[in-house]
């Protein structure tokens, strides 16, 4: 009887809802516009990538890492290649390292553009989204000229990268990041980030304290948005990131409380600028010529052992726990992704907010459904 008397309404948000960023489902318990709870229901995009890894040789798994986070496929390639290389102690040529860093940082820019744009789209601002995607199109062309694919790049190989830079790549990349840093972001901020309506929608919504963020295993921009200065590229440098000079942007309550949606958003905007800085330095330092790939035996068998390698992906730290039994397939590969803990966190922070705020919170975490489900 109480069931009927309560004011609660159960709303089914997703899996095909416009603002759930892929196939993500939330079961909302609402009281009119106010929400009591949002229970995330994930798994619609579960493809069993970890099982596939056990069935495939080490090199053949590389294309599948593209599909972990399709918006930032190079970062996933990079993490996996790094894991295998560290386990098998493979040296990577100097030039390949630079190409990896440049492409990974370009991917970070491209991925953040989708994240920022999609958040704005969820808040009803269509034009900034299209403008962000317009710039992502330039990035897509750059990556296409580098490796031949626009979305699932599959560029990084164990022991190097698949292609050397095409002619004119440096010039085009430099022009792209100059445009992003000096022109596009200013305009984007004026159009969207500093708009009063946008700020009011974002500030003091979905506040996560630093302790909570650590407690819930948040990573990447979501963790930094809460004011924790932690970036794998700085704190546990991999590849050649220690050669570059860059800052870790953290949230500091730019307009509201520290750790609100606006901080998470703003951290991403600043990360785009930092990525531009890294790319600019890498383009300066990158050797003109040189090998880009170490030859591996056709049947590649890393030594027996276990290793956990973390890399900084656009959605936070991506960890690969690899167990090798000395065979030609991985024995077990666990992929820890940023969106996974972020999706769990959405349910926690969305208690007692409005339905419209849930959309903001989902967008501000920048979750990508395949990365949650893998």
């Amino acid at each position: 009887m109480t069931e009927f008397l309560s004011d609660e309404m159960v709303l089914n948000m997703g899996p095909h809802h416009p603002s759930t960023h892929g196939v993500l489902r939330f079961i909302l318990q609402t009281d009119g516009e106010m929400m009591r709870r949002a229970i995330p229901d994930v798994g619609f995009l579960h493809r069993g990538i970890e099982k596939i890894a056990e069935l495939l040789p080490y090199q053949a798994f590389m294309p599948y890492t593209d599909r972990i986070d399709y918006l930032a496929s190079i970062c996933c390639n990079f993490g996996y290649a790094l894991t295998v290389e560290r386990l098998a102690q493979i040296e990577v040529p100097e030039k390949a390292e630079y190409l990896r860093v440049i492409s990974a940082e370009l991917t970070r820019i491209g991925s953040h553009f989708v994240g920022l744009g999609a958040l704005l789209l969820d808040l009803g601002a269509v034009t900034p989204f299209v403008h962000a995607l317009r710039e992502r199109e330039v990035y897509n062309d750059l990556m296409e000229s580098l490796c031949g694919a626009r979305l699932t790049h599959n560029y990084v190989r164990i022991g190097g990268v698949s292609y050397d830079e095409p002619p004119g790549f440096r010039e085009k990349t430099r022009r792209f990041i100059d445009h992003i840093e000096y022109e596009f972001l200013d305009e984007f901020n004026e159009l969207a980030s500093f708009n009063t309506i946008f700020i009011n929608r974002m500030k003091n919504v979905g506040v996560i304290t630093a302790e909570d963020a650590i407690e819930h295993s948040l990573v990447g921009p979501n963790l930094r948005g809460s004011g924790v200065k932690h970036d794998i590229r700085k704190n546990d440098p991999y590849s050649i990131y220690n050669r570059f000079n860059f800052d870790i942007p953290v949230g500091h309550g730019k307009f509201g409380t520290m750790g609100d949606c606006y901080d998470r958003y703003w951290v991403r905007v600043e990360e785009v600028m930092e990525s531009c800085r890294i790319i600019r330095q890498a383009l300066e330092l990158m050797p003109e010529t040189g090998p880009v790939r170490t030859k591996l035996p056709r049947v590649f068998k890393p030594p027996k052992g276990e290793i956990y390698v973390r890399t900084e992906c656009p959605r936070g730290e991506m960890g690969f726990y690899l167990i090798s039994d000395g065979g030609k397939n991985p024995y077990r590969l666990k992929i820890r992704t940023g969106s996974f803990s972020a999706a769990a966190m959405i349910g926690e922070v969305s208690q007692g907010v409005m339905v419209a705020d849930l959309v903001t919170i989902i967008g501000s975490f920048d979750v990508v459904a395949p990365e949650i489900d893998r």
Partner: protein, 159 residues
């Protein structure tokens, strides 16, 4: 009290100012910026085809040069999703390729087969328009009648 009143009017001012700024930008785009859309597929411009709008390294449909294929089956073995099927038969003295099918509906264009090919017999074309009415049309046979395999040169065999 005065603080609150000042805040009240500052809110109005801020809202008007930032809205005006944003609208100025959109107005600028409306009046000035040209469209960047490529009118695929029928208005690509003079003499341009779909192949011209993709970059040189574009990973499109797989293409086989059967005259230099040595039938080593490396591409078939390395393919993560088994979308290549090759059979060879010994007809007379020589090995012949009797079948070289690529299931383009399954292919994920990862490029592992192209990288592994010792003679660059299998390469990417720039073709990407694969829409068809029957999925079986996407299973492309590259060999229609048995063709003798090329002799591997000694040097390439090592690599």
């Amino acid at each position: 009290m005065t603080n609150a009143a000042a805040q009240y009017f500052r809110n109005i001012k801020d809202a008007v100012r930032t809205t005006a700024k944003g609208m100025k930008i959109t107005l600028k785009y409306w009046l000035r910026e040209p469209a960047i859309t490529i009118e695929y597929p029928d208005r690509l411009g003079e003499g341009r085809t779909a192949d011209d709008i993709v970059q040189d390294r574009f990973r499109g449909f797989l293409r086989l040069d059967s005259s230099i294929c040595i039938g080593c089956l490396q591409c078939m073995k390395t393919c993560p999703i088994d979308c290549i099927l090759i059979t060879t038969e010994k007809i007379g003295e020589e090995r012949h390729l009797t079948r070289f099918d690529v299931d383009q509906s399954k292919c994920m264009y990862c490029g592992l087969c192209v990288e592994v090919c010792p003679t660059s017999a299998i390469t990417f074309s720039k073709r990407f328009e694969g829409a068809c009415y029957d999925i079986r049309e996407l299973c492309i046979s590259h060999i229609h009648q048995p063709a003798p395999v090329a002799k591997p040169k000694a040097k390439e065999k090592e690599g």
